[in-house]
């Protein structure tokens, strides 16, 4: 039986001074993902390996880590596709380490929340107790669709060179979501959003390295969203003002017999 040499970065901030690399020999099988290999190592070789996972199908974004130097989802990366017998698993960059491969995503989610990732509208009563759907054309949906695929795994943020130096920079995930809601025809909070983004540590600190789009496992292009967002911020004009958002869909009256 062939084996894969799984190298895991181990670090416990409460007990260790610096990270160390530990190697495990894991029996290789067809279709094995890096998460499978890590779980085998944890179940049969070393119970103390710290890792986070949940859905095992690239939907929850929990198992983001650096695999052979590149941010990836462990459940979405097959050992065979790496083309190497040695698989190195490290925690994501730009995040504090909780233990081993588990990183602290608190600031990441805080920045996501700061972007107000929800529809802002004047008709608050309708928002709380919906009576119908808001109208949205297919071409309008197309503009925002890819950004709705974000699973908040943090891979884009871990690959961003600006996040590495500027702790106040919202990061590609949050900015892509800002664009997603700014351009959503149902949203009326454009002015608030633009004000938030036009900051010394805001959208302008993106230097378009493009690494966020390169590593996204869901095919989202945050770099594109950020550049389009810059155009809106530069013009200073919100796409819609209060009361100009998508209207409610009214069912047509039944045809008379």
């Amino acid at each position: 039986m062939t084996e894969v040499r799984l190298v895991v970065q181990r670090f416990d901030p409460f007990n260790d001074v610096k990270p160390r690399m530990t190697e495990y020999a894991v029996p290789k099988r067809e279709g094995m993902t890096v998460l499978d290999a890590l779980l085998y190592a944890r179940d049969y070789l070393d119970h103390s390996i710290g890792l986070r996972f949940s859905c095992r199908q690239a939907s929850c974004g929990s198992c983001g880590m650096k695999i052979n130097g590149r941010p990836r989802l462990a459940c979405y990366t097959q050992v065979a596709e790496l083309g190497e017998e040695r698989v190195v698993a490290q925690p994501m960059d730009n995040f504090a380490i909780i233990k081993d491969l588990v990183t602290d995503l608190e600031s990441f989610f805080e920045k996501h929340r700061e972007m107000m990732p929800h529809l802002i509208r004047a008709d608050t009563q309708e928002m709380e107790k919906p009576s119908a759907e808001y109208l949205m054309k297919p071409e309008e949906m197309e503009k925002v669709l890819q950004f709705t695929y974000c699973i908040k795994c943090g891979l884009c943020t871990s690959s961003c060179p600006t996040v590495a130096t500027d702790s106040k920079f919202p990061g590609p995930q949050a900015l892509a979501q800002a664009y997603r809601y700014l351009t959503d025809p149902r949203d009326e909070g454009g002015e608030k959003r633009l004000e938030l983004l036009d900051d010394a540590h805001g959208v302008w600190r993106c230097h378009f390295a493009g690494s966020c789009s390169f590593v996204c496992p869901k095919g989202v292009d945050p770099a594109l969203g950020i550049q389009l967002l810059k155009r809106h911020v530069m013009s200073g004009k919100a796409p819609r003002k209060e009361g100009e958002g998508a209207k409610l869909w009214v069912a047509p009256a039944p045809a008379s017999p």
Binding site: T165, A200, W204, M234
Partner: protein, 117 residues
């Protein structure tokens, strides 16, 4: 000033700098003989041309604003405290004013004298 306005200045000065530096290099490399382009007397004679003196002053302002604003952006990414940002902004404005004033002084001295031609 809003960050978007500062970035608009940054982009505008970048485009202007490319255009002005291109013209400057063409003037130095093609119109004036390259061998004498940086000789003292040749440079003084260039400044005597009022149009070219204004051109060089514009080049000075554009390049300095673009350069110092770029340094401001880099410094703001290094630290994220409000006092640091305020300090960087103030020093940037001061540096631009001082550098433009010193450069302008050189242009004026060259236009109205500046030694033997």
């Amino acid at each position: 000033m809003r960050e978007s306005r500062l970035m608009l200045v940054q982009y505008a000065t970048a485009v202007a700098a490319v255009a002005l530096v291109s013209v400057h290099l063409i003037m130095q490399g093609v119109i004036y003989p390259y061998a004498t382009a940086i000789s003292f007397n040749n440079i003084l004679s260039i400044y005597k041309n009022g149009f070219y003196a204004i051109f060089l002053e514009a080049l000075l302002v554009v390049v300095l604003v673009h350069g110092f604003n770029g340094v401001r952006i880099i410094l703001n990414e290094l630290r994220q405290t409000k006092p640091w940002t305020a300090w960087v902004d103030a020093v940037t404005v001061l540096a631009i004013v001082v550098a433009v004033a010193y450069g302008t002084r050189t242009v004026i001295l060259a236009v109205f004298g500046g030694g033997p031609v």
